[in-house]
């Protein structure tokens, strides 16, 4: 038996759905951020496996940029969470519906 690209893609799909469900269900903004990271990693796995399938470096290059953007996103997002939590400690996303305007 040999590991084909389809196995990686199925694993990526499962991980992505897990992250999506977590984003829908969890209410702690920090844990929701972690679920976003899960989804980003699922996409990274898909990129790398398809790059290996096609013999192309482009998949890995995409993952590099996804990593950078994920780092920037986490930095800004955590700063927003810190700024909110200072004013309302223990706030969940349901308490922050005021951000909707």
């Amino acid at each position: 038996m040999i590991v084909t690209t389809g196995w990686y893609l199925a694993l990526g799909a499962a991980l992505f759905s897990m992250g999506a469900v977590g984003l829908l269900v969890r209410r702690n903004p920090l844990v929701m951020f972690m679920c976003v990271e899960l989804m980003l990693n699922a996409v990274n796995l898909t990129f790398v496996s398809l790059g290996a399938e096609l013999g192309d470096l482009g998949g890995q290059l995409s993952v590099f940029f996804v990593l950078v953007v994920a780092a920037a996103e986490v930095v800004v997002g955590l700063a927003v969470i810190v700024a909110i939590m200072r004013r309302r400690s223990g706030a969940t996303v349901d308490d922050l519906s005021v951000l909707g305007g």
């Binding site: 389809g6 977590g22 920090l30 951020f33 398809l50 096609l54 590099f64 004013r87 309302r88 308490d95």
Partner: protein, 203 residues
């Protein structure tokens, strides 16, 4: 051998993902996230993306999750969340339905697509594993040098923005305006000036 490593990596990834999903304590969720990231790094090694595997461990597990843990510890939100409360009626069954359908849809599309990959092969061929880092560096700093410069700007902007957002301003803290939900529930602590007492529900 390859199947064994893949199975091990998949088990690590999926159990870590489930842990993030189900852990009540945010610290535990962060540690489960580290587990998932390590599993993905194992799969990257299996796919001969050695540089990305190293970056995955260093940047994700070493920097991003540590940032998460710092924020959790600093804010003191490491109390267990009561997952028994379902704030919106029917949210969890709907989320489960969405998740299962999303997984099915993605798996179908990806499995069909991999049988008939179309389009031109890219200009940068994939070398062997030992050559991986050099090829990535060459591609990044020749073909994609403009994009690399843009990511540098993006990171700088993100750092400056984070400092501006998280800076402690002078004067007393203003509480956030009272939320419509909180008004409906009649929670007087939301209008309190003392942030230590203004606790939201749940968490």
């Amino acid at each position: 051998m390859e199947v064994a490593v893949f199975t091990l990596g998949a088990v690590i990834v999926l159990s870590g993902g489930l842990g993030v999903l189900l852990a009540r304590n945010p610290v535990h969720a962060a540690l489960f996230l580290v587990q998932t990231l390590f599993g993905v790094a194992v799969l990257f090694v299996l796919l001969e993306a050695t540089f990305l595997a190293a970056v995955q461990v260093m940047v994700y597990a070493g920097a991003i999750v540590i940032l998460f843990l710092f924020v959790i510890m600093l804010l003191g939100v490491d109390r267990a969340e009561d997952l028994g409360i379902e704030p919106i009626v029917g949210q969890r069954p709907m989320a489960a339905v969405v998740g299962v359908s999303l997984a099915g849809l993605l798996a179908t599309v990806l499995l069909v697509a991999v049988d008939g990959l179309t389009g031109a092969r890219g200009g940068t061929p994939l070398g062997d594993a030992g050559d991986n880092t050099r090829r990535l560096g060459e591609a990044l700093f020749t073909d994609m040098v403009f994009a690399v410069e843009l990511t540098a700007i993006l990171l700088t902007v993100a750092v400056v923005g984070a400092v501006a957002l998280a800076r402690r301003l002078n004067g007393p803290m203003q509480p956030l305006p009272v939320v419509a939900i909180a008004e409906a529930d009649d929670q007087p602590e939301d209008v309190d000036d003392d942030p230590a007492e203004a606790t939201g529900d749940g968490s």
